[in-house]
């Protein structure tokens, strides 16, 4: 055992050293009085220089922890359902969920099959992940660095991943969904394993056997059905040597919500015909359906509304308690057979709803009944008056409510529509105004241009006029030069010109 103790200490110390840079190491390992680690430690621990310490492993570990604490750049998150984890010990959860390392012949053993091996795998995997917390640690990468058979490593890895001690929040895609799924799975795995205590381990594949297992009296081997079918046993044995032993526990009784819903619908439709009910539910036997139905919590609620209705309706219903829920079901079924599907739904709902709610609803419905009178005719034809009244009250109330709601909804929508129409109208008007303004601007500009042109034209005309005038004067002068007697003819061409 001394050699294995050495192994444990050195593994944890060197692993802690490797991660000292990036991660604040959690609880340091227990100090053990072993000499070799002291001599070895200084060469491996890069950043941590510990000269000859008196208690080697504890000081190197605390030094590593100190070095780690100086660099708090990573925060390792561990989900709350794994808060039990500690490097120093093996928790009960681990013992329960990975029995192959702790039970059977492995209990006292070491090597690849004992608690020591489990601790080695677990500690190495977690330290490895924590060295690079943002990155997802793959199984292949991890098992390549671990000495041991890959099957056991895979099981420990899957367990740690499921419980968020590895790869928590480090998934590349859909991490939130994966986390939620893992929490679900973790809770689910807690429930069934907590419920059943004596479980049978298969010697072949080291998993918990389900419904039945095969026991061999010759060699004290028990195999799960899968190993038995695969002939996964020693060559000296034959299938005839195995006896089938049933495990009498409700190992597969996790009724999902869907199945429960189907069950209730089926009971509503088919009543006491459990064959049809089990068909409707799907993969459940008749007796399973019956058992489940009886155990459903709303079984009590059958009693509740009946009592309240007895209170305020003042009838003399003498249904006895033990037969109460049978009679309840009987009362349900006539309604279920009624042609009106709404009635069936309402009966179902009123059965599901709590007793207080049902009584309040019934009282309100009575007052509303006077106003909204919908299903009188149908009620009078049915057998049990109290039940139907109650259901009709709830029916009337619900219809009234629905109408009110619908009206309110319609009004609100109408308002919305009006508002939107007004809005769009104002938008249109704005746009058109803008258009007109733009046009006006453009016209103004054009007018200015025209003005300018006109002015230019008038200038030109003046110039032309003066030119013509000059020419005419010239013409006038030259003949005037010849005959200077005609003098006052200048104004005439001027008058002509203008």
């Amino acid at each position: 055992m001394a050699t294995t103790a050495t192994t444990t200490v050195t593994v944890t110390v060197t692993a802690a050293a490797a991660t000292a840079n990036s991660v604040p190491t959690p609880t340091p390992p227990h100090p053990r009085p072993v000499a070799p680690p002291a001599l070895r430690a200084p060469s491996t621990l890069g950043p941590v220089k510990s000269e000859t310490p008196p208690t080697p492993s504890s000081s190197t570990a605390t030094a590593a922890a100190a070095a780690g604490a100086e660099d708090p750049s990573y925060i390792i998150t561990v989900p709350s359902y794994s808060a039990w984890f500690s490097f120093d010990s093996i928790h009960d959860t681990e013992r329960r969920l990975l029995p192959e390392f702790f039970e059977g012949e492995a209990a006292a053993a070491s090597g690849c099959r004992g608690p020591h091996a489990y601790k080695y795998y677990r500690d190495s995997l977690i330290r490895r992940f924590r060295a690079r917390p943002g990155r997802r640690l793959t199984l292949t990468e991890a098992r390549r660095g671990l000495v041991g058979d890959v099957g056991s490593v895979r099981r420990v890895f899957d367990f740690l991943e499921e419980w968020g001690l590895i790869n928590y929040g480090a998934l590349p895609s859909g991490s939130k969904q994966a986390k939620e799924k893992r929490e679900e799975v973790a809770q689910q795995s807690l429930l069934p394993s907590g419920a059943t205590v004596p479980r049978k381990l298969c010697t072949g594949c080291r998993t918990v056997c389900g419904l039945a297992y095969y026991a061999c009296d010759k060699a004290d081997i028990s195999l799960c059905t899968r190993c038995y079918v695969n002939n996964n046993y020693r060559p000296g044995l034959s299938p005839a040597n195995f006896k089938r032993v049933e495990i009498t526990e409700d190992a597969k009784s996790d009724w999902t919500d869907k199945e429960t819903l189907h069950l209730l619908e089926a009971v509503l439709h088919y009543g006491e015909d459990w064959k049809k009910v089990s068909e409707h539910v799907g993969s459940r036997l008749e007796k399973d359906c019956i058992a489940r139905f009886i155990r459903l919590p709303f079984g009590e609620q059958f009693m509740g509304p009946k009592e309240d209705r007895m209170g305020f309706e003042n009838n003399d219903d003498n249904t006895d308690e033990p037969g109460a829920d049978v009679s309840k079901r009987l009362r349900l079924t006539p309604l279920a057979d009624a042609s009106n599907p709404i009635m069936a739904q309402v009966a179902f709902l009123s059965a599901i709803v709590g007793s207080d709610v049902a009584s309040a609803a019934a009282q309100a419905a009575i007052s509303a009944q006077s106003r909204v009178d919908l299903n009188d005719s149908e009620i009078e034809t049915s057998i049990n008056s109290t039940k139907e009244e109650g259901s009709s009250h709830t029916n009337g109330l619900s219809v009234n409510d629905l109408l009110k709601e619908a009206a309110a909804n319609a009004r609100a929508q109408l308002e919305k529509e009006r508002n939107s129409i007004e809005q769009s109208l104002s938008n249109i008007v704005d746009v058109q105004m803008k258009e007109i303004q733009d046009k006006i601007c453009r016209f103004e500009q054009k007018e200015m241009l025209m003005e300018k042109e006109r002015q230019q034209l008038s200038c030109l005309r003046d110039l032309l006029f003066t030119d013509q005038l000059a020419v005419m004067q010239h013409q006038q002068r030259t003949p005037a030069a010849v005959t200077e007697c005609k003098g006052d003819e200048k104004p005439k061409p001027v008058a002509n010109m203008s």
């Binding site: 090597g111 000495v147 041991g148 099957g151 020693r234």
Partner: protein, 255 residues
């Protein structure tokens, strides 16, 4: 088959199994598809169900981002080796208290490790995994992949020896049944080695090695720097280089 045994020789006949505490099979996978090569060696528990093999192969391919057409070949390889192991299982083998020399000569990533040591295959409680772990820790090997490689290598050699002893047993039985003259020469290397070793030990009369031979049995670990540095070899070996050559000569002599 006469052997010189050290002490009380109790040839125990057991059903075939790995002569180690845990009956684990060493598996080596070497698959090449479309120019991509996947090589791996690991230890497998033969009692794991077959579905485990399939899911392991798929998971490995996914983790290493290999294309899906690797998976069937990987599966075939693993299942073939397991089937071969199981084919030996029903048969008897004879384990004597044989001490055999095992050798390790591996390169894992950048670490080269060479070692030789003696192993008692008669001890059905031996543990190659523990040996590998201790070796790595003692030699301060930082690469975590070296440990499993050493363990697999040891297991492979032990498997080889065990399967040979099965065939030896079979030959023995056949010779008893069939031929008159019980003449058979087992040409298994390990057996010869064991026999020679007994001679070696027996003549000296002491189990303690001579000091000048200690260096032969020291492990050598070299950390080879990556090839970007111009192929320099950084030598962290625990023994000087000139002696390494002497070691080769001496080991040849001793065997």
């Amino acid at each position: 088959m006469k052997t010189v045994s050290l002490g009380a020789s109790r040839p125990s006949t057991v059903y075939f199994r790995m002569p180690t505490r845990d009956n684990l099979v060493p598996i080596r996978v070497d698959v090449e598809v479309d120019g991509q090569r996947y090589r791996d060696a690991f230890t497998w528990n033969p009692r794991d169900p077959d579905s485990e093999i399939i899911s392991f192969a798929k998971r490995t391919a996914k983790d290493l981002k290999l294309p899906a057409n690797f998976v069937p070949q990987m599966l075939q390889s693993i299942q073939g080796q397991l089937a071969e192991f199981r084919s030996y299982e029903g048969q008897e083998m004879q384990i004597k208290e044989k001490i055999v020399p095992l050798k390790i000569d591996l390169r894992v990533n950048n670490t080269v490790i060479r070692d030789q040591f003696l192993w008692d295959i008669g001890n059905l409680d031996s543990d190659p995994e523990e040996f590998a772990r201790t070796l790595c820790d003692d030699l301060n090997i930082t690469d975590p992949e070296v440990g499993p490689a050493i363990a697999v290598s040891i297991r492979e050699q032990l498997y080889e020896i065990a399967s040979q002893s099965v065939s030896v047993m079979r030959e023995k039985q056949m010779s008893k049944k069939g031929r008159r003259a019980p003449e058979f020469s087992s040409n298994s290397k390990a057996v010869n080695n064991a026999v020679d070793l007994f001679k070696y030990f027996g003549s000296k009369g002491s189990v303690i090695r001579k000091r000048k031979e200690w260096y032969l049995y020291e492990p050598v670990v070299d950390v080879v720097a990556s090839e970007e540095d111009g192929k320099e070899e950084v030598n962290n070996s625990s023994r000087p280089k000139k002696r390494a050559e002497e070691e080769k000569v001496a080991s040849l002599q001793s065997l």
